[in-house]
């Protein structure tokens, strides 16, 4: 069973049992924990042509579309160095499939941020593809394309509605209180996003450049604490690895600098009140050096955000005892019914449905022979695509070999992580091999 327990509708006239009443508190606690869960920064791409090719892939990945999250949110950006020689950036959904659609494209310098209605698609597994193209006669003219990680947002019918006041003396009714709390929990449950991985990377310089961005990612800002695990192979020649938040933006902030040959797994806190919750920021990992003859490479296992402390305003409740007054008859319990309303008001907005597309790890710009996805386990069902995949966690003996997918009936597969001993919520694991998609879901997607 899910950690979220569904309740039947309350009706006036029924006696309130501790089972549903406790479950209302339990469920809110479940959402409170998930609302403060670690979120991986999502991998996107900003790149130009490498040579004289007429097209280059900007983003190639997959997306699991759910029937209650059908609005695709996307951002594509084009920088064209010569307006007389057009390049076009185009984003496709269900690329190569029977229902392939052009989500958007642009051929002038600038950024397009918009949404696209995917309601014509049934729930399922789709390829998301972004490509930068130019005419045969324009291959001498550079352009740069960027694709933020696309995601779908909630289109279901549920919404949040605060329960009526439940102060001392108020009659507790099914409609005004208990079913309102219940309905909000069903809404919160629908707001639980799929849990995408962090696209781990290892990369060195291309040539004799003094610095190189080895990883781009975006995140919709929520928390200030940035957790990361990074490694620098060689620090000679002034080589450092720097991790930036809002890279190139108005508030660019280097939250980590590695200048020793070591791997660190730690966190840094972003400055307070600088970044706006709900806004997307570019995160980048940059290697740089003073001696361009001194090579190095660096590895990022993960970058995730988490709260500095538990989000304020949510109050946990002690154990309920049969025979107690529902409202509370001892010190500290006198407002427990009001607590449900207050806690749900606190939860509203902390859970926002975003089902991300996931970029193929095999196309990450890596120089490492094994590519990987990095996960902090949250949901029970792992949707994935790829070959020769091994899910590793814990010590060396803790691994699971995942069956291959193909381009036929098994374009993707589902693995039930509840069947993996020791893989409990919060445990980090990674998927090696040639992974092309992985994300955890709370239940079978319909």
């Amino acid at each position: 069973m899910s950690d979220f327990v569904r309740l039947q509708a309350f009706t006036d006239g029924e006696i309130l049992s501790k089972v549903p009443y406790s479950t209302l508190f339990d469920n809110d606690g479940y959402f409170h924990g998930l609302a403060d869960a670690w979120n991986p920064v999502q991998n996107g791409v900003a790149r130009g042509y490498l040579g004289t090719e007429e097209s280059i892939v900007i983003y190639d990945g997959y997306h699991v579309l759910a029937s209650d999250a059908q609005t695709l949110n996307y951002t594509i950006d084009l920088i064209n160095t010569d307006a007389g020689h057009a390049s076009t950036i185009t984003l496709y959904y269900d690329y190569g499939g029977a229902g392939q659609v052009t989500v958007d494209s642009r051929n002038t310098t600038g950024t397009t941020t918009d949404t696209y209605d995917l309601s014509a698609f049934s729930a399922g597994f789709y390829r998301v593809y972004c490509v930068l193209t130019r005419a045969a006669g324009s291959t001498a003219y550079q352009a740069y394309g960027t694709c933020y990680p696309p995601y779908t947002t909630y289109t279901g019918a549920k919404s949040f509605a605060a329960a009526s006041a439940s102060a001392d003396g108020t009659v507790g009714t099914a409609a005004d209180h208990f079913n309102a709390w219940r309905a909000n929990q069903l809404y919160f449950y629908d707001q639980l996003s799929s849990h995408p991985p962090f696209n781990s990377v290892r990369r060195g310089y291309n040539a004799s450049e003094s610095e190189l961005v080895i990883w781009y990612g975006w995140i919709v800002h929520k928390f200030r604490r940035i957790r990361y695990r990074a490694w620098l192979r060689e620090n000679a020649g002034g080589n450092v690895l720097t991790l930036y938040y809002d890279y190139g933006g108005a508030n660019e902030y280097a939250f980590a600098t590695l200048d020793t040959e070591t791997e660190v797994e730690t966190y840094a806190d972003l400055p307070d009140a600088t970044f706006a919750p709900g806004s997307a920021y570019l995160v980048a990992a940059v290697i740089s050096r003073t001696d361009t003859g001194q090579d190095t490479d660096a590895r990022l296992r993960y970058i995730m955000e988490s709260p500095v402390a538990a989000t304020a305003g949510y109050t946990s409740l002690g154990t309920l005892v049969a025979g107690q007054y529902v409202f509370g008859d001892t010190a500290g319990e006198g407002t427990r019914a009001e607590l449900l309303t207050a806690n749900q008001a606190n939860l509203e907005g902390r859970l926002v449905r975003r089902d991300y597309a996931v970029r193929k790890a095999s196309y990450s710009d890596t120089a490492e022979s094994t590519w990987m996805y990095w996960m902090c386990h949250r949901h029970p069902l792992l949707y994935y695509r790829g070959q020769n995949l091994v899910l590793k966690y814990g010590n060396a003996n803790d691994y699971v070999t995942l069956p291959d997918t193909d381009d036929g009936d098994n374009r993707y597969r589902i693995y039930d992580l509840r069947q993996v001993d020791g893989l409990i919520r919060g445990v980090h694991y990674h998927i090696e091999g040639t992974p092309e998609y992985a994300a955890e879901f709370k239940e079978v997607v319909t």
């Binding site: 069973m1 899910s2 327990v5 569904r6 309740l7 039947q8 309350f10 009706t11 006036d12 006239g13 029924e14 006696i15 309130l16 049992s17 501790k18 089972v19 549903p20 009443y21 406790s22 479950t23 339990d26 439940s166 102060a167 001392d168 003396g169 108020t170 009659v171 507790g172 009714t173 099914a174 208990f178 309920l320 005892v321 049969a322 025979g323 107690q324 007054y325 529902v326 409202f327 509370g328 008859d329 006198g334 019914a337 009001e338 029970p380 069902l381 009936d409 589902i414 693995y415 039930d416 509840r418 239940e443 079978v444």
Partner: protein
């Protein structure tokens, strides 16, 4: 709940000196069905005596006032008269082909015939009665020497107990919804409109299914999971009452568990025997449960045999799933099934599968459209969404004081519909609170028959020498009706349990009525 006696004088006549009892015994020899009792045959003329019992059963506690169910039975003794006219021989003979009832009871056909017993009193010259039992004939035993026949009746649960069915997986159903589903599957007399009344239940059933088990047993498990009971009342109405039922007010006084349905005073009984039965004590409860979850699509059945389907023919096989499933995916040719001739020619394209899926099995009809060759089904598998179980978990609770006094008295509850800690806690804590100390039991012997009372009814008992003056819930009623020496006798023995031992409070929180406040509305288990 008692029976509705509005418009009758049964309450007064039940204790009135000289009130003349009346009985009526009806049989549905012609299979007219419940609801058509007016067409049934009245055999009261031949009745010599009658007795019966209604008792709460389940959870190992005889007088819990709650429990898995209530069992009603009756024993009726008839004069097996010799018939005259066009008929001859014994009336109730199962072998006398000349008997008028032979077509109904001959050659073992008596079992399962619908029957009813009504009891009451004359109000002046008008007989007034209510049902004491409505159900089925269970056995018929002839006694040649005494020229009599003994017939035992069982309440309508008999039909439910004899019905076995399977269902599809029922997800996120209330107890009432699931009971409605399975009650409709009864092979005989599924309760129709007005023949059932269900509380909603207070814990949702995430996954429920019936796997060729008796429906009555399944209903008992559902009731137990809700801390309540399932039963057919004396009038044949199927009732599910969850654990909160007995402290929840009803508008009609006759069905209000908070209203005493009868007050027994010293003049109303021959004996009042209170006792505390240490056998009733439970001071350690273990509730075992296994959380369940629905997993992703996977193979749930693989055939171990090559099936042969004749040319232009079909066969149906029952495929037992490895796990209960929410649904089975449409089989894909070549992936899920392959067929060929004995010589190896591929016939997969000639095969059509038609599925009828229940939670635990799928009936697969395999049709072979090829008119020339038998199809050998070399591969057959089904993929579905299984409901899997986590490791079993135990919730335990105990009372140290009671253990010190009575020794450890353990009760184990293993109910497939308890799937979460909170639910297990509810059942365990409720049982512990109720039985950690022996509840006060009383036996009222030789009370005048009060025909409208049923197990679970709240009554009041007042007696000065024992100091008893409080409310009880009826756990068992034994009744008897016979001519006696000085006229007709309708007497009962009643066993009951003190209400406050079942529910320590009377002010539980009622949605839509109770106020949030620091002195109003307590939390039920």
């Amino acid at each position: 709940m008692a029976q509705d006696i509005t418009g009758t004088a049964l309450a007064a006549n039940s204790v009135a000196q000289g009130a003349k009892p009346v009985i009526q015994v009806l049989f549905d020899w012609a299979d007219d069905g419940f609801g058509n009792e007016g067409d049934w045959t009245d055999e009261t003329t031949y009745l010599k005596s009658a007795s019966g019992r209604s008792r709460a059963v389940g959870w190992g506690k005889s007088l819990a006032g709650i429990g898995v169910g209530v069992a009603d039975d009756a024993t009726l003794v008839f004069n097996n008269v010799e018939e005259t006219g066009g008929n001859s021989g014994f009336r109730f003979s199962q072998t006398n082909s000349n008997g008028s009832l032979y077509a109904s009871i001959g050659e073992g056909a008596a079992r399962g015939k619908r029957a009813a017993v009504k009891l009451g009193y004359y109000n002046g010259a008008t007989p007034q009665s209510v049902y004491m039992l409505k159900g089925y004939l269970e056995s018929l035993q002839e006694n040649y020497r005494d020229r009599q026949v003994t017939i035992t009746l069982r309440d309508r649960a008999m039909a439910a107990a004899l019905s076995k069915h399977a269902t599809t997986l029922q997800e996120n159903q209330t107890a009432a919804q699931y009971l409605t589903t399975i009650a409709a599957l009864m092979d005989r007399d599924p309760p129709g409109a007005g023949e059932y009344s269900y509380d909603t239940g207070y814990v949702l059933l995430p996954y429920a299914w019936l796997e060729d088990e008796p429906i009555w047993k399944e209903m008992g498990l559902v009731a137990e999971s809700q801390g309540g009971r399932i039963w057919f009342d004396h009038a044949g109405v199927l009732r599910f009452e969850d654990g909160t039922h007995f402290v929840r007010a009803r508008a009609d006084a006759w069905r209000n568990p908070l209203v005493s349905q009868f007050t027994f005073t010293t003049d109303d009984f021959q004996a009042l025997n209170p006792h505390y039965n240490p056998e009733e004590v439970v001071n350690h409860v273990i509730v075992e449960y296994s959380p369940k979850y629905e997993s992703y699509v996977q193979v749930v059945y693989t055939a171990a045999e090559t099936f042969i389907v004749p040319p232009s023919g079909s066969i149906t096989i029952r495929c037992e799933h490895r796990y209960p499933v929410a649904s089975v995916a449409t089989p894909v040719a070549s992936t899920d099934f392959k067929a060929g001739t004995a010589g190896g020619t591929d016939l997969t394209g000639d095969i059509t599968l038609t599925l009828t899926t229940k939670a635990i099995y799928t009936d697969v009809q395999i049709e072979n459209a090829n008119a020339d060759y038998a199809a050998y089904i070399y591969k057959l598998q089904l993929r579905g969404y299984p409901v899997l179980s986590e490791q079993p978990i135990k919730y335990e609770c105990e009372d140290a004081t009671s253990i010190a006094r009575h020794g450890r008295q353990t009760m184990r509850v293993a109910n497939p519909y308890i799937l979460s800690y909170r639910h297990a806690q509810n059942v365990g804590d409720l049982l512990l609170a109720r039985f950690k100390d022996p509840p006060l039991l009383i036996e009222l012997a030789g009370v005048p028959g009060v025909p409208y009372l049923e197990p679970g009814d709240r009554i009041t008992v007042t007696e000065t020498k024992t100091g008893i003056n409080t409310a009880f819930f009826i756990g068992e009623i034994d009744w008897r009706f016979d001519p006696g020496g000085g006229g007709l006798i309708f007497k009962e023995n009643i066993q009951a349990v003190r209400a406050s031992d079942m529910y320590p409070h009377t002010d539980y929180f009622v949605l839509g009525t109770s106020e949030f406040g620091d002195a109003d509305g307590r939390l039920f288990w």
